[in-house]
């Protein structure tokens, strides 16, 4: 019945706000939307209170377009800039306590599985670097070790943006920020390595200046989490305020950072490859026919 809930009760259509009517008539629910179609449909996230030039907002917007089943997707977040935008979206969002997102998502995913069985109910965690690598570290790692079936996306701006620019575990060594008055004294945490060690079925890094790539990794991560196990995407989503990046240089910065420390990387477990190839038509992941056999 998921799609029914976005429909209006007969006769009520004309009394609903225009924005809501647009969402029902031109929204992405029950359709396959793509970043290449932006402007032709009503997006899940449009209005938001984020700073001008915020790359994180662009990333969240692209990610939401990429959700394979937006009508059956629930996002979970924690304190930080990201949730100020995510909470404005037209899909349910859980904002609980500090760093609790992967714990909440564990209970939520299991509860939904009990109620809905194999019907897809995609849980997607979107939280910042501080929420994930610092205060929510234990719950993030444990949810991966437990093989919880949901997607974890880190919105990594390498700083505590919402509280005003303090050092986080994902800040680069040497960076001077609030609470790092003489520069950060240790390296950026290797969450990608930890995700692999903890058993994530899919791990990817991405920057928001390549919308098709963002779309591709989000779709794969959500589909693999649904069928196989935990997935992790680490996205560089710069904070142009705290890092003083001019708004017209935000994409340029993303490109520079991509070349410096955020090169696109993608890891899939064998089960993840099989899932995408066999269940979701990703031909590139189907086993290649053995040439030696064909010859003989």
């Amino acid at each position: 019945m998921s799609l029914n809930y976005v429909e209006f009760t007969p006769g009520f259509d004309r009394w609903m706000p225009k924005e809501y009517r647009d969402m029902v008539h031109h929204g992405p629910f029950g359709k396959k939307t793509s970043v290449s179609q932006v402007g032709t449909f009503k997006e899940i996230l449009e209005e938001h209170p984020m700073c001008a030039g915020c790359a994180m907002t662009l990333f969240i917007r692209l990610a939401m377009i990429a959700f394979p089943n937006p009508e059956d997707t629930i996002t979970v977040g924690t304190a930080g800039c990201g949730r100020l935008a995510i909470s404005q979206a037209a899909i349910p969002f859980v904002y609980g306590n500090y760093g609790d997102q992967n714990g909440v998502a564990s209970g939520l995913t299991r509860g939904l599985k009990l109620r809905f069985g194999d019907k897809p109910k995609d849980v997607v965690v979107m939280a910042g670097d501080g929420g994930m690598a610092d205060i929510g570290f234990a719950q993030t790692l444990h949810s991966w070790f437990r093989k919880e079936k949901f997607t974890t996306i880190m919105l990594d701006n390498e700083v505590y943006g919402n509280t005003g620019g303090q050092e986080s575990g994902m800040t680069n060594k040497g960076q001077v920020l609030k609470m790092a008055p003489v520069g950060k004294k240790f390296e950026k945490m290797d969450m990608l390595g930890m995700a692999k060690v903890a058993g994530c079925a899919y791990v990817a890094t991405v920057v928001p200046n390549n919308p098709r790539r963002v779309e591709s990794v989000i779709k794969k991560a959500v589909l693999i989490a649904r069928e196989v196990g935990p997935t992790y995407i680490q996205a560089y989503t710069s904070c142009n305020i705290e890092y003083a990046i001019p708004t017209d240089k935000v994409m340029e910065d993303a490109k520079d950072v991509e070349n410096d420390r955020y090169k696109f990387s993608e890891y899939l477990s064998d089960d993840a490859r099989q899932c995408l190839g066999e269940l979701y038509g990703y031909k590139e992941y189907l086993p290649k026919p053995e040439k030696t056999l064909a010859k003989s």
Binding site: M1, I91, F93, G103, V104, R110
Partner: protein
């Protein structure tokens, strides 16, 4: 997986069979469905379960009573994390999971993670249960304190123990002082029977439409969890109706409800942009929901309090939990000495029985409030509730803590001192309210 688990004989590291686990299936019934008994459970109404179903008496520990309550409560999701003296309870819930009485169960990373995941499960619309104690309660307190504001029905059992340094595992209910201000419903079980009844009733009260709040069922660790007592229980073939996810003060987050309205308008989802009045009215509504639970507590639990000998009593002992058990004995001894003493046992601390206490305490000469903690949170609650409605002298004590037991004589001494005006050997004069030095009272109120 369950088949494999059930087929081996379970032993502890010393090699002794674990009696709490179900008996291993015999050779003939090797392929028996381990969930067979659970599947045969029959759903009955709460009214039948609590008031009409025939019961049989067993001599069991508090942990076993909690297990038996959960067995009959149609629980979907239970998350465990060990801490003394709670560990045995959640181990036994694990046994129920193996037997199919609880549908989903896992061992969480620590209490913050467990309480967060309970919040997630409750949001998904399933019935959730967990338990913790002392330092675990405090570690999980941030998520626990936010459950009511998120309007999450769930039941958490607290087997109270020492929290503060120097750390000890002994009984002490100081943690309840923190829990009382979360906005959740709080019951305090005196014994194994209370624990069994309160847990089952808590699920039903928690999920009432006009309540939609978590319920904390507290008991004093060891005294109740590890000691045996008689517990009258319904047939284990009966269970409560399942949680109806569509009920509740706010919609569950299952993507089956209108998403735009929920995400955009629910004030609990925003913080930076939330006007102060939104938080204020939301909290008012949480506490109003606590008040609305009174009628269900009256209906299922026969009221927020239980009384003994209170008519014509000069002396009232007011207590909750294990202290109430000691007070029963003190009432008997006082009566033998010719003192007209009675007991008010407080079963529900949130909502608090203010109206009941005002009425019952109006004629009392002396009120004694014995407690298993240093700070005397119950004395403060009682004094605040009856101020202006009673002229009784209130003795905020005796207090025991850190695992001390409370001899009945200690309570009887306070009664005698209170009536005779003799100086108490255990309760400081600053903890005696009414008909005493107002400065001492002010000092006491500031220090509890």
């Amino acid at each position: 997986m369950s088949d494999a688990l059930e087929s081996e004989v379970k032993t502890n590291p010393q090699g002794d069979p674990i009696t709490a686990a179900p008996a291993p299936p015999s050779a003939q019934s090797g392929k028996k469905d381990p969930h067979a008994e659970a599947k045969r459970q029959k759903v009955v109404t709460p009214e039948y379960m609590f008031h009409e179903a025939p019961r049989e008496k067993e001599f069991i520990t508090g942990s076993e009573a909690a297990k038996e309550a959960v067995r009959r409560s149609n629980v979907d999701l239970s998350i465990a994390y060990p801490i003394t003296p709670q560990s045995e309870t959640m181990q036994l819930i694990g046994v129920l999971y193996g037997e199919g009485y609880v549908k989903e169960y896992y061992r969480g990373e620590e209490e913050y993670g467990v309480m967060s995941a309970i919040a997630g499960g409750s949001r998904a619309g399933v019935r959730c249960f967990t338990a913790t104690a002392g330092p675990g309660t405090l570690r999980g307190l941030e998520p626990i304190a936010s459950w009511p504001g998120h309007r999450l029905p769930a039941v958490c059992m607290f087997t109270c123990r020492v929290v503060n340094a120097p750390l000890a595992i002994q009984p002490d209910n100081i943690e309840m002082a923190y829990l009382l201000h979360c906005g959740m419903i709080i019951f305090h079980a005196e014994n194994q029977q209370d624990l069994f009844d309160y847990i089952m009733m808590a699920f039903i009260i928690s999920e009432k439409n006009d309540v939609t709040l978590p319920v904390g069922v507290c008991c004093d660790g060891f005294f109740v969890t590890h000691a045996r007592g008689y517990c009258s229980m319904q047939d284990k073939g009966l269970k409560l109706p399942e949680r109806e996810a569509w009920r509740g003060a706010v919609p569950v987050l299952d993507a089956e409800n209108p998403p735009a309205r929920l995400s955009r308008d629910a004030p609990v989802q925003k913080s930076n942009f939330m006007a102060y009045n939104i938080h204020a009215v939301w909290q008012q509504e949480v506490w109003a929901a606590v008040e609305r639970s009174r009628k269900y507590i009256d209906q299922y639990m026969d009221g927020l309090i239980e009384t003994q000998n209170v008519d014509e009593a000069d002396v009232l002992l007011i207590a909750s939990g294990s202290a109430a058990a000691q007070c029963r004995e003190a009432v008997r001894e006082c009566t033998a000495k010719g003192i007209k003493a009675g007991l008010i046992k407080i079963k529900s601390l949130r909502p608090f029985p203010t109206k009941e206490l005002r009425q019952l305490c109006s004629k009392a000469k002396l009120i004694v409030v014995p407690e298993f903690n240093y700070v005397g949170w119950l004395a403060k609650e009682v004094a605040t509730a009856i101020y202006g409605y009673s002229n009784a002298k209130i003795v905020g004590g005796p207090h025991v803590y850190g695992g001390m037991s409370m001899p009945v004589e200690m309570i009887v001494d306070e009664v005698i001192c209170g009536l005779s005006g003799k100086r108490s050997s255990t309760v400081p004069s600053s903890a005696i309210m009414g008909q005493v030095d107002p400065d001492a009272v002010a000092h006491f109120m500031q220090n509890i």
